[in-house]
Symmetry: C2
């Protein structure tokens, strides 16, 4: 579910996964100017409640951006967490909403009632009161800013679901999932992951997802894997004040460090013993800078892992940071069925499998399921083993049993097509008189022609077929409606453009085969099932129907 997206707001564009450093309203060790200049920070979070309490007039006079001298994106938290922590409630939801509308951050948060590790009755209350705040926002208008909808419910899955359902009705711009702080304090990662997974599954996929207070790099990769886009970290400073040094595999006390396991700018400049000797203020600044560098590095490491299709592998590495995180990883593997419809159907990179538990990875489970359904066997035929993801790209332990019988070229391509599109499609897509062209260099099957026309290319990277329109016509005959179809809206102009080969945007998708998975070959058709184009799904079915922006299908060839 991990994704790299562009978030556009107030004409500012920012990439997610995104870390918002939390900036305190007074005496921050790292100024906003430094955050922007030294760290390239383009978005930050601060606290509306404390701004109002200490600097109401200043900030109302000049607005929150000028107050912080920061022209990036500012998210103001309502301060509910602080309020609940200290038990003082001296501001109403309306007041804090109006205040935020006035000081104009890019994103505001309504006054929620955070769930802690409480009994059911109290959690019900926190869910209910947060919904009440959302209703109030609806009544008093949103102003010019975007709004986060906080999700409560904690470990009570039914309440969490209820919270997701109810809050979704208010069409918030971003959803922010609350995690009881105590789970972080106790390294109770399995609970955190459980809440985050359940919230993700019950929230709209098209909205950016934020989780409150996940400020430590040890957990970032897991949350991104679960489809979370935005994190905030006050910890980089709070830990620094407590002489704690973050690494992507856990927290160290400054006193126990003889060497810095880091090469960030600040760590390269000093030894731990020298940092221990610093004045308190300088030491806090040093540690806060290191901690923030480490958080940013981990976000970049995660993004690179997404690009390489290696996020599961990265999470597995991070899962060795602590046995509790390892348990959380096993929890994810146990629930990997939820990931199957999000995992691209084919990838370029090899899959590293280290132990039998890795066989539960969604790519592997799904491949075994399709093998049974579409080839009617538990064994992998040579055709797939030689050509097709994931069978040909597994490195390390092998979860697949091999069927070693050699087959001719025509059987090979039909078998691959059966696996890709369903049992029996191979024979229709590739009639007996196809011409198979092989690579001169490698001797491997590359292109399939029929009556002199190219109908499909067998991709060298992943062994799936890329269809041309002539192939798509044949496939359509082999597949009952609505299998592998994306149905576009009844707009002649749009249909014309797509039939000419333009890409299909999500907003023009009327309906689709609900089994479509990202990167599958799909047939673009009109409502009467007339073929318009063939291409590659960028989103899964659910996302195609839900998203209002962005590509749904990268069209390879139109009917014209």
């Amino acid at each position: 579910m991990g994704r790299i997206c562009k978030l556009e707001l107030n004409e500012k564009i920012i990439e997610t996964p995104l870390l918002l450093p939390v900036v305190n309203v007074k005496d921050e060790p790292i100024s906003c100017h430094e955050l922007q200049k030294e760290f390239g920070i383009k978005a930050l979070m601060t606290n509306a409640y404390l701004l109002r309490k200490y600097f109401e007039k200043e900030v109302m006079n000049i607005g929150v951006h000028k107050f912080f001298d920061f022209n990036g994106i500012i998210l103001t938290d309502s301060g509910a967490f602080q309020l609940k922590k200290f038990g003082r409630i001296d501001v109403s939801n309306e007041e804090i909403i109006e205040f935020q509308k006035y000081i104009k951050p890019d994103i505001g948060v309504i006054l929620d009632t955070p769930t802690r590790n409480e009994n059911r009755r109290e959690v019900i209350k926190s869910v209910r009161e947060t919904i009440k705040s959302a209703k109030e926002l609806k009544k008093i208008s949103r102003g010019d800013i975007l709004w986060c909808g906080p999700i409560q419910g904690g470990m009570f899955v039914d309440l969490l679901k209820k919270s997701c359902e109810e809050m979704t009705k208010f069409n918030f711009d971003i959803y922010s999932v609350g995690i009881p702080l105590i789970y972080y304090e106790n390294y109770d990662f399995e609970k955190i992951i459980k809440i985050c997974l359940n919230a993700k599954l019950n929230l709209p996929k098209s909205k950016p997802l934020h989780t409150f207070g996940a400020g430590h790099p040890i957990i970032f990769s897991f949350l991104v894997l679960l489809g979370y886009d935005i994190f905030d970290s006050a910890s980089y400073v709070l830990f620094a004040k407590d002489n704690r040094y973050m690494t992507e595999y856990g927290t160290k006390k400054l006193e126990e460090l003889d060497y810095f396991p880091c090469n960030c700018k600040v760590c390269a400049s000093k030894k731990p013993s020298e940092v221990r000797e610093m004045m308190r203020e300088d030491r806090i600044k040093f540690l806060a800078m290191h901690n923030l560098h480490t958080c940013i590095k981990e976000i970049d490491t995660i993004k690179q892992a997404i690009r390489e299709n290696r996020l599961w592998e990265l999470c597995k590495i991070r899962s060795l940071s602590h046995p509790n995180l390892n348990r959380a990883f096993r929890y994810l593997l146990k629930h990997s069925k939820f990931f199957e419809k999000f995992e691209p159907i084919r990838k370029r990179s090899s899959i590293f499998l280290f132990d039998k538990e890795d066989f539960s990875r969604p790519e592997i489970r799904r491949a075994i399921k399709r093998l049974k359904q579409r080839i009617g066997s538990n064994k992998v035929p040579l055709s797939l083993k030689n050509y097709t993801y994931p069978f040909c790209q597994v490195t390390g332990l092998n979860p697949f049993e091999l069927h070693k019988k050699k087959k001719g070229d025509i059987s090979t391509i039909r078998e691959i097509a059966d696996f890709q599109f369903g049992n029996g499609t191979g024979k229709i897509l590739f009639p007996d008189n196809v011409k198979i062209i092989k690579s001169e260099k490698t001797g491997r099957i590359r292109k399939i022609f029929l009556n002199g026309k190219l109908i499909a290319t067998l991709r060298a990277r992943d062994g799936f077929f890329a269809l041309r329109i002539e192939g798509a016509k044949l496939l359509k005959n082999a597949l009952k409606f609505p299998n592998y179809r994306v149905i576009i809206c009844n707009d002649k102009k749009v249909q014309q453009l797509i039939s000419e080969g333009k890409n299909l945007f999500a907003k023009f998708v009327k309906n689709c085969d609900m089994k479509i998975i990202p990167r599958e070959e799909v047939l673009v058709v009109d409502e009467d099932d007339n073929l318009i184009a063939v291409g590659e799904a960028v989103l899964n079915a659910e996302e195609m129907l839900e998203f209002k922006r962005g590509l749904a299908v990268k069209v390879r060839e139109g009917i014209i």
Copy 2:
């Protein structure tokens, strides 16, 4: 076996594990001046053969340190690797030895004949010729410099052992283990680890151990775990020239990077797309700098892991970099018996156990063995579970079965003593009339008195007894000679100092119980088994007898 040591030579002191960047004799992207100033490099390696070929006169005139404008430690490789690679042998061993003696690096290497991935006959030749070179060195005198003895034999374990035995006779200052390059090229980590383990077991423990060409951070932690102290890396530049970007978990091609998973100085300054656009020279410098930063960071990460007793955990994390490295890690676990006598008997940190394979870790195997021998049970009694390493410090999966019977305080301390010193010792060390003092805060056993005298403290951290001299007297009665004894040489002056409580240096150790493991409590006695002091072993038995320098026993209390 991982260790942090000080290497002293020519009045320069340097800490190991140590990475020597290899500096080419011509056009290096990073100058020696930069290496020293920007990277804090205090030791480097270069090639005597190429120096002689291209700059013979200059370097003979001014010496190798002035030639490179580098006042740190310089190791000159003989260039045998290059010679063999290109098949030209236009220099003799004597010539290259004399040349090195003349240009005065701190450390030289004789002309060896590297083992490649060859047949047995050729490997025999490489072992023999290297021994012949060593004999020649002995004949023509060593000059003022230290010498590395190269070890050959590769995957032929008997030849490797032979090479170790023969080369050891020449008393080299450093031993350098050769690994066929092809194993690195093929990611054949299991073979590399096998050669390194077998060499380590057959070489003197008191000498620094170097392995040629292990220049990638992916493997450093494994080699340090195996007791290797010095590495050299030409790869940081060679990879850069090939647009390859090192990470501690593998190599990336620059072209496949969208984000830098790193926060070193250079990576923080540019985006991958910008680096791709650089002029070739600048790009090589950029990548070489990043690669070297990454290597140095990994060495620091390893050192910190050693300090935290977490090197096994770090290796396990790194083992997820690639399935082949994972296989090498499993090989180490299968051969963990070789580590048992090096692993400290007690540690401060908890042990993270993630899966059943981790139960083969040497601390766990050894503890289970001792449990059987000394307590006569497979089950862990509550006393040990509550107090003593490793039983009380296991986090994650638990490899131990628990014996839940509660016992009184006196049984508890006797059981712990039996585990620490051997069956039956508890009863003699702690007679019925001992007085047990507990912590007021925690209620846990802290100190044991007998007749008003402190005899032992039960360490809060690890639940082992620290003995006072009165306790040592009792223990001596319980243990037959030479159990738990370190016997010092017959030097009255030394005996006097130690009986006053001074520490015992290895060079004064005459003999000892061959079962002693680092951090065990030991009795320091004279040759007639008269007790002189009690303290904590710093080395294991083999090391105590072999080392000529450094502490053998940290004395807690002398008899006087």
